[in-house]
């Protein structure tokens, strides 16, 4: 018996969420009285996982796996789960892992829950708390199958250090055929993505037009943050769709979310309220975002944001 964790890599490097799922998997294994095994594909340094409790790491080294393929990767996870006799398989919520989850579950004949935010509240039957109704509520879901697949919501458990002296095993699974071919990847270079960001700076219709996004990007850069926007801003073509956050856009679960000129419509809040700390800057004290935020400034973005940029530069210089 074991708990299997899939630790996602990007160009050989672990995503931050890989450490979070390892931390979580270690604890779930303890609850179940078993061991955690972490599967990595083409990791350049699998020993990094020891810090988060990985007792055993299966590292697959294979150049043909440098390109992601859902069917092939899911089948590798299945082979690892079978080899390790895993009862629970844990994935993160990065885009590739969410793509893999359903396939892994079907091939292991497993119940599958996504958006999980906490350790199991019971191990028999295995019961987990998850976000539902677009972050407006939670539910406690029971997994009735022998094997269970869990996707942990981003930034819901955290990175928990738990140094162990682990071991690495090279794992050479067989590769299945796939009809799906990756032709190319178009990366928006050099920018922090909303999925990976600890801080997200977001602008709404209150910013009046695309020409005013310079200060949003500057603020984001100082904070090492990703930039985002409300739905109408992307519908109007002021910003790309990839920046649209909310119930029908990207979910945000950052440590800090700064909303500038955003009213705080229910659909917007649904997508961003998993962020730990929310700041609103808005001229209208009645804007609904003030009810959802932790800190707020009632004021004109065109005055407040330039000041904030200036003061943050000083702050960063003093705290470097």
């Amino acid at each position: 018996m074991s708990v299997l964790v899939f630790a996602e890599t990007s160009e050989g490097k672990f995503k931050k969420s890989a450490f979070e799922v390892t931390s979580y998997g270690k604890k779930v294994a303890e609850q179940l009285g078993t061991n955690v095994v972490v599967l990595a594909i083409n990791s350049s340094d699998p020993t990094l996982l020891y810090t988060y409790g990985a007792e055993k790491v299966l590292n697959v080294l294979n150049d043909s796996l440098k390109t992601f393929n859902v069917k092939i990767f899911a089948n590798i996870i299945k082979q690892a789960a079978e080899k390790e006799n895993s009862q629970v398989v844990i994935l993160d919520s990065a885009s590739n892992s969410l793509y893999l989850g359903p396939n892994v579950a079907v091939n292991l004949n497993a119940g599958y829950v996504t958006n999980v935010v906490a350790l199991p509240s019971s191990t028999s039957p295995l019961t987990v708390k998850r976000k539902t109704f677009s972050n407006k509520a939670f539910n406690n879901t029971i997994l009735n199958t022998d094997i269970k697949v869990i996707s942990l919501a981003k930034n819901s458990y955290g990175l928990i250090e738990n140094e162990v002296s682990g071991s690495i095993e090279e794992f050479s699974p067989s590769l299945v055929e796939s009809n799906l071919t990756s032709e190319r990847i178009e990366q928006t270079t050099g920018k922090v993505t909303i999925a990976d960001a600890d801080i997200v700076v977001s602008g709404g219709r209150g910013l009046k037009g695309p020409e005013n996004w310079g200060m949003i990007e500057e603020l984001a850069e100082i904070l090492g943050a990703a930039s985002a926007c409300s739905k109408p801003v992307s519908d109007l073509g002021w910003r790309p769709h990839s920046e649209h956050v909310g119930q029908t856009g990207k979910p945000v679960a950052s440590n800090l979310y700064i909303a500038i000129g955003i009213s705080g419509a229910i659909q917007h809040l649904a997508g961003v309220n998993s962020s730990k700390v929310k700041v609103v800057i808005n001229t209208d004290p009645e804007a609904p975002f003030f009810k959802a935020a932790d800190y707020g400034i009632v004021g004109d973005a065109f005055e407040v944001v330039p000041k904030l940029i200036e003061k943050l530069k000083e702050f960063k210089a003093n705290n470097a």
């Binding site: 509520a137 879901t141 009735n144 990847i185 178009e186 999925a195 229910i266």
Partner: protein
């Protein structure tokens, strides 16, 4: 091309979410139901294939009789016919197994769905359906072109996009970008009239035992009041010393 569009029947995005029966059930009292917003992108793309490439479009929902107005709305938007699998949708795997039967029986070679439903947010049915049928699958799909038997698909990835190709059969889970927001359709009077006469067939479920079940619901805990600050110095100090996020 025979297209199947999966339609989830979900509470309108403005709905207040409440629970009944000791927090064990969603309270649908006073809630308005709509086509799942992600599925609207899929349906709109299907209409494009119907009009430009002569595809036939069937819409399907796994649910009880209360979901029929949502299927009629999809017919009013232009789908040719509808299927309702007559069972409560409780678990992603169980729903995917019902849909797999529909796909096999109908011989569809393109299945378009939304990337998740905005009620339970499982995000798993399309991928499970593809795995059950061994069809190619693309999640978070933001572009789809079909030329004969060959599909070119764009997928959103963290920080960019990936372009993929596959032969049909294919299943995609769509989102904004698959079509533009402004191209989404609202049913017109003629569409609504025609929809009444279009076939909506009811098929009985294969009924498999659910892999998961919901024990209880909880609402978000009430949040403490927002601290209003007068100037940016104070904000920076609070974010640094109190919230410890910068």
């Amino acid at each position: 091309m025979k297209i199947l569009v999966c339609i989830s029947h979900v509470p309108d995005t403005t709905s207040k979410i409440n629970f009944t029966e000791n927090d064990s059930k969603f309270d649908s009292n006073g809630v308005q139901f709509v086509i799942n917003p992600y599925d609207e992108f899929a349906l709109t793309r299907a209409m494009w294939f119907k009009e430009k490439q002569g595809a036939t479009v069937t819409v399907v929902n796994v649910g009880n009789v209360s979901t029929e107005p949502t299927l009629r709305k999809a017919l009013a938007i232009g789908a040719d016919n509808a299927i309702r699998v007559n069972t409560e949708a409780t678990d992603g795997l169980a729903v995917a197994k019902e849909l797999a039967e529909v796909v096999k029986n109908g011989g569809y070679n393109l299945v378009l769905a939304g990337k998740e439903s905005i009620d339970y947010n499982g995000g798993m049915v399309p991928g499970m359906l593809a795995a059950l049928l061994d069809f190619s699958f693309v999640n978070a799909c933001i572009g789809l072109e079909i030329d004969g038997d060959k599909a070119t698909i764009s997928r959103e990835i963290d920080g960019g996009k990936e372009i993929l190709t596959s032969n049909l059969p294919l299943i995609i889970a769509g989102q904004k970008g698959l079509v533009e927001e402004k191209d989404l359709r609202i049913p017109n009077m003629r569409g609504i009239m025609m929809a009444r006469k279009k076939p909506l067939s009811i098929v009985e479920p294969v009924n498999n035992s659910p892999a998961t079940s919901i024990a209880s619901f909880e609402k978000q805990a009430a949040k403490s009041a927002c601290k209003l600050v007068d100037n940016v110095d104070e904000l920076i100090s609070l974010l640094h010393n109190e919230a410890k996020v910068i």
